[in-house]
Amino acid sequence: MIEFDRVSVTYDGAPGPALREATFTVPEGELALVIGRTGSGKSTLLRAINGLVPHFTGGTLSGRVTVSGRDTREYRPRDLADVVGIVGQDPMAGFVTDTVEDELAYTMESLGIAPDVMRRRVEETLDLLGLADVRDRPLTALSGGQRQRTAIGAALTPHPAVLVLDEPTSALDPGAAEEVLAALQRLVHDLGVTVVMAEHRLERVVQYADRVIEVPGGSGPVQSGEPVRLMATAPVAPPVVQLGRLAGWSPLPLSVRDARRAAGALRTRLDGAVPLRAGMSTGTSTGTSLARCRDLVVRYDRTVALRGVTLEVTAGEVVALMGRNGAGKSTLLNALVGLVTPVSGAVDASGLTPVRTRPKDLVKAVGLVPQEPADLLYAATVRDECAQADADFRVADGTCRALLARLAPGIDDDTHPRDLSEGQRLCLALAVVLCGAPPLLLLDEPTRGLDYGAKQRLVEILRELTAAGHAVLLSTHDVELVAEVATRVVVLADGEVVADGETTAVVAGSPAFAPQVAKILAPLPFLTVGEVAAALGEAS
């Protein structure tokens, strides 16, 4: 269905090719997963499938890409619209109309499909993706999962043979991600659509893949093959695969179910071992209280974002805020830095009342890295950015640059912050915020768009900070990150705290929040591969 024949892409002005020597075939009806580190050329590969590279982006493409027999050299993206449906990273950015129904019909209108056929297909797609309840809603009023499904539906209505998705579940909470993946499964199984998708959250998707295409970036060639074969050596791997490699299981399990069936022996070996939570103080911490909310109520017009939240974070803790999109996680973080004014209740951040403190004093007490780290950055180069941060926080020159060098070594001073990778940008924003040395650090969804390597670096940084006496409160959907780094988990639902306790106690029993290792080794209290490795090392 899709054929890449020695495809290399070089963008104008780039020193080297963004994609090198890609040769592979995706047969009809397969679900192909594209993996690789951030910036390795995954998006370039996806966009080459429907000709956006190079027709839209410019650059030089050598080799040949054919989709359903059509060569992208001769067909522009718009001429391939009836064969390839493409869903970008941010579905909101690709919406042309304003309601769900109109969005689903848009591509068909462009293709000139007859009105009665359009009507029928829209109704079918609404049912297929479970969007019938929201058909009249404005797109801005949808939840993240609904938006993603609408974008998929919009790509699907012209009945393309190929569906291309760039990071379809990265921004979604575990529940919404399940919805989207279930919908994709149906498409592949029932309708025979060929799906090609890139995803960082391998733990969510690798089990569904029929084929893995690895884009190594740099000089290596693009590889394609059976998931089991490629995952055995891939540099990026989900916890289930890492555990399989550690335990030496063969064939390598890709799903929790397969791993559980293979894990009997490992469970017996680990029985009775107590996991050592790496880098964490065990037991109750007795540090000073750095953040305190009491009966906090926040409302936006008619919706109540927080209803009576009581929470305390002490020094040395990493507290993870979890809960579905719209549960009030960001609102709670914003209340702690005074960006939203509570209706009632008390907020206290490092001894200050955020809304009543002047910004320049508050930043010394509490720092927030927002969901879009780029919002914090204004300058044209990393050097200027660091200099401005030093001035903003009234600290000695070079403080910010030194912090950045420690968080993310090897960033060129003259780079534009927009040209940094997601992980590097996060580190820059983190360095800026840490300039003021706030005892309380807040992170809003820090792992969006981070690959496993960058995530590991973040975990190390957070551990260093807590060891130095900082308290960290982070909101996230990433259960694996929570398992790695959090000492305590607070679950919010509809603006209320529904669970608050030690990580193991809160996440282990939950079907949605349990990390893969916990699911595989239940009822043993292990959460991460690192813990298992440590316990095995002790046992032997």
Binding site: P77, E109, D133, G145, P359, K360
Partner: protein, 374 residues
């Protein structure tokens, strides 16, 4: 009777019908300065809006237009009071301190006596303008601007898409600005000064640019611009026809409303313009290989709503030409009369309150059940 003809069956009325109705009432308002008639018009539009508006964000625009109208009246009165001379009447209300002006400004007076006639004239003029504004506001509140763009003829499709995209981008920019201003606080900066403008402006513009590129890529991959092949000459003819036609329409409407030309010539220009632009649109339609999803039907309710606007406009225009008393007040200080024909004409404008189908009640979507929380 077809289902779409039934005015009691809930559905959204064609936005074009609402606009034609509102324009009809605005024309009626342009023919009179009688405050009784103008307030009656305001009441009619207000009633129809409250009877048939949806709960969409734009449905509140009537109130916004009403407020704008009040501001307009206020500004007019203040300016008139400042610049008033005795030329309009001799009933002095109060005397403001007069500002001496240099010689070259002779004939202009700032301050001094303020006459009742001048103030009342300003109020009536302002009220007329405010009423016309409110008619537009009513159309805005009742008809989704996007649905209206959707019903544009095929030849104007590109323009329509550009407008839709602009409509999406404006609120997005506001959200961005809010987010970035909030982020400034996180760096301990306060929102003041030129520096603040630069540091919020740049990220907003960069974000907008990024989004436009994203959107363009998405539209390209979704088949936007797959047009049939049309020779260059035909494209040029189409463009020229549409432009010429629109010019004719604009000229006709302007002269009709301002009495600047012989009414017959004005009607002629309007009709000619309409004809030429229609020809242009028809010629342009051929190159568009698009189809339309669920186009808004034009059925009996649409005809009734449009007709009520047309009747209101027609009757007042006829009354104005026939010189019916009370449409124009003999002087500002007289008690305004209540002329029968225009009142009837305006009351016809109430018809959409029953002739337009009601909107379907919003469906309460069942809550999403997904994350099992421990």
């Amino acid at each position: 009777m077809r289902a779409v003809d039934n005015p009691t069956l809930p559905r959204a009325l064609h936005p074009g019908a609402w606009w034609l109705w509102a324009i009809g009432l605005a024309v009626a308002a342009s023919r009179t300065r009688n405050p009784v008639l103008l307030i009656l018009l305001l009441a009619v539009t207000g009633f129809v809006v409250s009877a048939r508006r949806s709960d969409a964000p734009w449905a509140n625009s009537y109130a916004a237009f009403l407020r704008l109208g009040l501001v307009l009246i206020g500004v007019r009165v203040v300016l008139q009071a400042l610049l008033s001379t005795r030329s309009q009447g001799s009933h002095v209300l109060f005397i403001l301190p007069e500002v001496p002006l240099p010689d070259w400004a002779s004939g202009v007076k700032l301050g001094g006596e303020v006459t009742a006639e001048a103030v009342l004239t300003a109020v009536y003029d302002g009220l007329q303008l405010a009423t016309m504004l409110c008619c537009i506001g009513a159309a805005n509140a009742l008809a989704s601007p996007r649905r209206l763009l959707k019903s544009l003829p095929g030849a104007l499709y590109e323009v329509g898409v550009a407008c839709v995209v602009a409509l999406t981008f404006a609120p997005q920019l506001v959200t961005d600005a809010r987010r970035i201003r909030a982020a400034r606080r996180l760096r301990g900066r306060t929102n003041r000064g030129l520096q603040a403008l630069r540091t919020t402006g740049m990220p907003i513009l960069e974000g907008a640019l990024d989004r436009s590129v994203e959107l363009a890529a998405a539209m390209d991959s979704r088949g936007y611009g797959r047009t049939g092949h049309v020779p260059q000459l035909q494209r040029r003819i189409t463009g020229a026809l549409v432009l010429l036609g629109l010019f004719g329409v604009a000229l006709g409407v302007y002269t009709l409303l301002t009495d600047a030309m012989d009414p017959l010539a004005a009607v002629g220009a309007l009709a000619g313009g309409l004809l030429v632009s229609f020809a242009g649109l028809l010629a342009g339609h051929r190159r568009v290989a698009r189809s339309r999803y669920r186009p808004d039907p034009w059925a009996l309710p649409e005809w009734l709503v449009t007709a009520s606007g047309a009747v209101a406009a027609g009757l007042t225009v006829i009354a104005a030409y026939a010189g019916v008393e009370g449409l124009v007040l003999p002087g500002p200080l007289t008690v305004p009369g209540v002329p029968l024909l225009p009142v009837v004409a305006i009351l016809v404008g109430l018809l959409p309150a029953v002739a337009a189908p009601p909107l379907a009640p919003p469906v309460q979507a069942p809550r999403r059940t997904e994350v099992a929380v421990p």
